[in-house]
């Protein structure tokens, strides 16, 4: 029942992107998102799209695999797109396409919908490149390292990172345990497959309670084991794995700086997203 729960979606491969410092990747993905929201016209989004295609090729992750992450969010994209189509309330320079009851569809609302959908699409694809090419452990290390400045305000960065990595480590263990409990309850006649939503949710209760109890017991054991291995917080602790910023990361930073500059220029010279209507019209 829960066998297909893979935590994270790391795609193992050897590539330029895989080898980058996780910190650089996290920062660059933020730059990527900034680029998406900075773009005011379709040319900017097209530039971002080209960069995305380039990144996917560079990362050696199959396109199908990257597209799979869209599936989960497809509903959200369609839903927001439709809402935007009907309830866009800007000024319109053209005749409305549809004007019925409270629904008005103008050229502008269509353009707006497409623009928004593209933005969301690029956003999800971009971030999934990060999770596809970085192991959860490396991500945690990267986040810990990026949050280091917060230590100055006594934010428990090390503890937070340790909690995250222990949580990741326990996912497969607790998944196995859940499957075991489900099997045990099924053997005693529990039914998880039929009935309405509420009935099924109720059926999960005899699974969740033993799972919770055992998780607490595990936590206590783990606490003892950590004590026995001399754990005493961040003080006086060394770190075996050190993240290294390399030429790859420098290249990445330069590349994304170029992307953002490019988008600013496209914004300056090629108008807003609504100008696309006039731009297409002028072609004919």
């Amino acid at each position: 029942m829960l066998n297909d729960v893979t935590f994270g979606q790391y795609y193992p491969a050897k590539s330029f992107v895989h080898n980058m410092d996780p910190r650089a990747k996290i920062v660059l993905i933020i730059a990527f998102i900034v680029a998406i929201f900075l773009a005011r016209n379709f040319f900017g989004l097209a530039a971002v799209f080209l960069v995305l295609v380039f990144l996917v090729l560079l990362s050696r992750v199959p396109f199908g695999r990257v597209l799979r992450s869209i599936k989960m969010i497809l509903f959200v994209i369609v839903f927001t797109a439709i809402l935007n189509l009907f309830f866009y309330s800007g000024e319109s320079a053209y005749e409305p396409l549809v004007d019925w009851w409270i629904f008005t569809i103008t050229y502008e609302s269509v353009v707006n919908m497409v623009f928004l959908a593209l933005r969301l699409f690029l956003l999800v694809m971009g971030t999934s490149i990060l999770t596809l090419t970085t192991t959860p452990v490396a991500l945690t290390d990267g986040i810990e390292s990026l949050l280091t400045p917060l230590k100055w305000i006594r934010f428990p960065v090390h503890e937070l990172a340790l909690i995250m990595s222990i949580a990741l480590r326990f996912i497969p263990t607790l998944t196995d345990e859940t499957n075991r409990i489900i099997a045990a309850q099924k053997a005693r006649g529990a039914n998880f497959e039929t009935g309405g939503l509420i009935r099924r949710a109720k059926a999960m209760l005899p699974v969740l309670i033993p799972l919770l109890v055992s998780a607490f017991r595990r936590a206590e054991d783990l606490g003892d084991a950590m004590d026995a291995r001399c754990y005493s917080g961040a003080k006086g602790r060394t770190k075996y794995k050190k993240l290294r910023f390399t030429w790859r990361d420098l290249l990445g930073v330069l590349f994304f700086a170029a992307l953002i500059t490019g988008i600013v220029f496209l914004n300056m010279y090629l108008g807003t997203k609504f100008d696309i209507i006039a731009q297409i019209a002028s072609l004919f």
Partner: protein, 278 residues
């Protein structure tokens, strides 16, 4: 040198101290000794183990590890560095998702420099025969392999004493054999002091010395063969002989002239001898 010393130690889990999990134990373990601690559930053997590395501290009496008193909080860190402990459930003692990161956890905690940690990981994985799994994920390994990783995690701190708190209890026979082999090797080749807490009588045969716990007291103490020879006394503590020894005893009772044997090989030899004689 004396590695561990218990002086009339009492320990109670309750505040009022009405019931003692460990009730007046005095014993001393020499460095390099391989000691098996036997007992039924609730006999106090796990509590005894936790008293050694200061996870628990005695309610009464005194526990010292290489002369360091476990009641002294300043010594706790040093004591845990000298006495490493492996627990029962291999799933509940790994902290990281990658083997080498998990082995590194101990050395990181005691502030070992990075290059040195690399060397220690290599040494520890080598000692338990798991070098090939350095970059593997613990959750995909077998129980025996996970437990060997846990041993490596303790070894990386370079302890002088290794406490195994029922570390083989949850393993299949193969995993148990793997772990026991590693432990024996550590004891023989590196002179590691081993405290093996177990309820498998067969495992006690590998030790130099066996201590039987019953209701918080150390009731028997001696060479494993000596203890297994007192089978009636053992039975009164709800412990059974190793299987081969039990068969041997039954053969003797049935009138076959075999000498005392405790493991399958010895028994086979004894039977052979008696058959040749007859």
């Amino acid at each position: 040198m004396e590695a561990v010393r218990f002086d009339n130690v009492k320990f109670s889990y309750e505040e009022d101290g009405a019931e003692f999990a460990v009730n007046g134990v005095s014993l001393s373990v020499e460095e390099g000794q391989f000691v098996a601690i036997l007992g039924r559930n609730g006999s106090g053997k796990s509590t005894l183990a936790k008293l050694v590395n200061a996870l628990l501290t005695p309610t009464e009496g005194k526990v010292t590890v290489f002369g360091m008193d476990t009641l002294d909080p300043k010594m706790t860190f040093e004591i845990r560095k000298s006495a490493g402990m492996v627990f029962q459930n291999p799933d509940n003692q790994t902290v990281a998702s990658v083997v080498e990161d998990d082995v590194a956890f101990g050395p990181e905690n005691i502030g070992v420099p990075r290059e040195e940690i690399g060397k220690r990981i290599e040494f520890a994985l080598d000692a338990v025969g798991m070098q090939a799994f350095r970059h593997a994920t613990p959750s995909r390994l077998s129980g025996g392999q996970k437990q060997r990783i846990a041993i490596a995690g303790v070894l990386a701190i370079l302890p002088k004493i290794m406490i195994l708190d029922e570390s083989t209890a949850m393993l299949d026979p193969r995993g148990r054999r793997e772990v026991m082999e590693v432990v024996k090797k550590l004891n023989k080749e590196r002179g590691m002091t081993v405290l093996l807490i177990t309820h498998f009588m067969d495992e006690a045969l590998q030790a130099d010395r066996a201590i039987v716990m019953h209701r918080g007291e150390a009731v028997m103490d001696g060479a494993p063969e000596e203890i297994f020879a007192r089978s009636d006394e053992l039975e009164s503590y709800n412990l059974t002989l190793p299987r081969a020894a039990a068969v041997c005893k039954q053969l003797q009772a049935a009138g076959m002239p075999v000498g005392n044997a405790f493991d399958a090989e010895e028994l086979a030899e004894e039977i052979c001898r008696s058959l040749q004689k007859g």
